[in-house]
């Protein structure tokens, strides 16, 4: 048995000898996978751990993810404890020192200021994140700041291609800035409009567009909607003049439809991340789709 094990290790060591020179990146969420495509499409290999139909709060530390983590040179995640239910376990089991700290560990929420930092952390208040709301991908200014930091990190880890990363970032920045201007003009009618949200995941988007959140289907963040709480929202939704009840593609939209049926306010499923609908093929499409759908609710 001992001999066999030894031979297996030797064999695997030979098989696994590093032949690929490309930087391997483990992206926790599709939005960061898409951003990496923009910033370094040809010079890196990206493994995206989750998809738009998964609730990233509760992903499991599956064996396949451990295997991917084992090979990564860089980890790109939202951070702010969004992945706390699985990422620490993956890191501990993967035995990959490159991504546990320092340069190989990139947390998007650490690159920007977060909103919703709770004054106190108490589970009675639901699944609150002490480091603030981690869903930063829906504010284009924050995305740009994250892109700048990520591009610099790529250049640091893969110095040979640093010029490519810089050039690709410059290109991305100009396209993104132009897109922001376009989105802001297009989304102007949304300013001041009120919405009811499913989970408190939209604060960055609403703040950017000047919209207001007047209620949440989850009585506490992370606690599934209850019928009593939903009933109490009927008046809030009507009186507050909500234009839509918004949820993410991965969420169960039944409670949204229930409330929509009783208030006449449309239930709107937004992609939330890249891959959340047909149009959200990349970060640009994600914003296009989100704004189109919100504008659609005004009609």
């Amino acid at each position: 048995m001992r001999k066999l094990l030894l031979w297996m290790i030797v064999l695997l060591g030979v098989l696994a000898a590093p032949v690929e020179a490309k930087l391997r990146v483990f992206a926790c969420e599709p939005e960061w996978g898409s951003l990496l495509e923009e910033l370094a499409a040809d010079t890196i290999d990206v493994d995206v751990a989750t998809n738009a139909l998964q609730d990233v709060h509760v992903v499991e530390a599956r064996p396949s993810l451990i295997a991917k983590m084992r090979k990564a040179d860089l980890l790109v995640c939202s951070g702010a404890q969004l992945e706390i239910g699985w990422l620490p376990q993956l890191l501990r089991q993967a035995g990959n020192a490159r991504v546990t700290s320092a340069a190989g560990n990139f947390m998007a929420a650490n690159q920007v200021t977060t909103l919703d930092r709770p004054a106190s952390v108490d589970r009675a208040a639901g699944d609150v994140h002490p480091d603030g709301n981690p869903h930063v991908q829906l504010d284009p200014y924050r995305v740009l700041a994250i892109a700048r930091a990520l591009s610099a990190r790529l250049g640091e880890l893969d110095a040979a291609n640093a010029a490519i990363y810089q050039q690709r970032f410059d290109d991305f920045e100009s396209r993104w800035q132009a897109a922001i201007t376009r989105w802001e003009i297009k989304a102007a009618p949304l300013k001041g409009k009120a919405v009811v949200v499913h989970h408190s995941a939209w604060i960055y988007l609403l703040q950017w567009l000047g919209m207001r959140e007047i209620g949440s289907l989850e009585p506490k963040p992370g606690v599934p909607p209850t019928s009593a709480h939903l009933s109490s929202l009927i008046d809030v939704t009507k009186a507050g003049g909500a234009v839509a009840i918004i949820s993410a593609a991965y969420q169960d939209s039944k409670p949204d439809e229930w409330l929509a049926g009783r208030t006449g306010v449309p239930a709107l499923v937004l992609p939330f991340t890249v891959g959340g609908d047909e149009q959200a093929k990349d970060l640009f499409g994600l914003y296009d789709s989100t704004i189109d759908r919100l504008l659609g609710a005004l009609k």
Partner: protein, 447 residues
């Protein structure tokens, strides 16, 4: 401003008064005219002063506006230096170390007195017996974990249990583990649960049932852990592959007496896993526990090799098991022993030499149909030896069903019914109602 208003009023009123008093040109009038001119000049000065002040205020406001716009977006301005060295595990909790507490309690009703419980062919070892009757506080578990520095992680799990009025505090796990070895190696030292099989390295609070499978109870005294060292290696392959070995002191069942100068048990294990599409994942393993026993709890002295094979299949839409899914799991045990047995109840009895195999297995399925509910079924079976001191014609078996309600990720209430047949003509129907909660750090669970 207060001065300005009357001054302005004078400016407008006085020219009118002057016109009315025009005709008699004498010295008094000239003096008056002089005063009016002085007042006019004064008013003009005040007016211009007011205008200047207004202009200055406007300029200041404009300056402020410029400063505001010149400042970068506050959202992106604050990129801290520490952020670059962002360390996920350090940020895992507000506390350092992170503290987690598991509380549980139960009401158990056995149709047969647990004191009469005997398992045919498998003497009870460790904590492998049935639970006590009635209301009972379960094991409370307190665990501390944190990265020690840039190269080490440490964890302590203390279990507190009250039995017959006495409180026992025991160290379940206390180990340090490397986080920065190159090449996918991880080394661990201290006291910990062995990585053999599937359930063994999992804490009971992650189980789908309120008790461990019969095979775990019979062969490992519920769960095998001891003081020792571990080295494991994760292969850099597309599929998950983990290979490892451990050496233990050899004090706990199935080992006993810390043989070989205190290195009485060794293990090897291999685990492999992966995904099939985006809805299915699997994990399989093969392990061996080689233990030397000197006067074990079951009266055995000699060497034993325990082979374990485990297999887990999880199906969940988009891999999101929190809301719905199915888990199928099975583990099989083969216990191969060679040595002597002295009846532990009767120290004067003659030693009987024994060489033989015993087997055990379980199959369990869990169906989770919402975030709040799951139901599970488990079938346990042990195969006793046909000859030797533990020989038995009866093979113990057990059926269990459980329904669990989760209020949140952190609390559950479980109802379990079991039909246990540990020996011939002894049928124990067990009703268990259990609560279990976790407080503190949000523990990330293994697959």
């Amino acid at each position: 401003m207060r001065l300005l208003a009357p001054a302005l009023a004078l400016t407008f009123l006085l020219p009118g008064a002057l016109q009315a008093a025009e005709p008699p040109p004498d010295a008094q009038i000239a003096a008056l005219a002089e005063r009016i001119r002085a007042l006019e000049a004064n008013a003009q000065m005040l007016q211009s002063q007011a205008a200047e002040a207004l202009a200055a205020a406007q300029a200041a406001q404009a300056e402020l506006q410029r400063m505001k716009t010149a400042q970068p977006d506050p959202a992106v301005a604050e990129v801290s230096v520490t952020a670059k060295a962002g360390d996920v595990t350090a940020a895992a909790n507000q506390f350092n170390p992170s503290i987690a507490l598991i509380l549980n309690g139960s009401y158990v009703n056995h149709s047969k007195d647990p004191l009469d419980y005997r398992r045919a062919g498998f003497p009870l070892v460790g904590e492998g017996g049935p639970s006590a009757n009635g209301l009972r506080l379960g094991e409370s578990e307190l665990s501390f974990a944190a990265n020690i520095d840039d190269k080490l992680y440490g964890q302590l799990t203390v279990a507190m249990e009250s039995e017959a009025g006495e409180t026992h505090v025991g160290i379940e796990e206390a180990y340090i583990e490397t986080t920065a070895l190159p090449g996918g190696f991880i080394a661990r030292g201290g006291r910990f649960y062995s990585n053999i099989g599937y359930l063994n390295s999992h804490h009971p609070h992650t189980d789908y049932f309120s008790d461990r499978p019969l095979a775990y109870q019979a062969f490992l005294g519920n769960q095998y852990g001891d003081d020792g060292v571990q080295l494991r290696w994760i292969a850099p392959t597309d599929a998950y592959l983990e290979i490892g070995t451990e050496a233990f002191r050899g004090e706990n069942a199935p080992a006993a007496g810390a043989a070989h100068g205190g290195v009485g048990a060794k293990t090897f294990f291999v685990h492999a896993g992966g995904d099939v599409g985006s809805n299915n994942s699997w994990l399989a393993g093969a392990s061996i526990l080689h233990a030397d026993a000197r006067d074990g709890e079951d009266g055995f002295s000699g060497r034993s090799n325990l082979f374990l094979f485990d297999f887990t299949w999880k199906w969940a839409p988009h891999g999101a098991f929190k809301d719905s899914g199915i888990v199928l799991r099975s583990e099989a045990f083969i216990d191969d022993r060679k040595g002597v047995v002295i009846d532990p109840q009767d120290p004067l009895a003659l030693a009987q030499s024994w060489e033989g195999k015993r087997r055990g297995a379980y199959v369990e399925g869990l169906y989770r149909f919402s975030r709040s509910w799951d139901v599970g079924y488990r079938y346990d079976r042990l195969w006793a030896a046909s000859s030797g001191p533990y020989a038995s014609d009866h093979d113990p078996q057990r059926h269990s069903i459980a329904a669990t309600w989760h209020n949140s990720e952190f609390s559950l209430l479980r109802l379990q019914l079991a039909r246990d047949e540990p020996q011939a003509h002894f049928l124990d129907n067990v009703f268990t109602l259990q609560y279990q909660v976790s407080l503190g750090a949000h523990g990330a669970h293994k697959f």
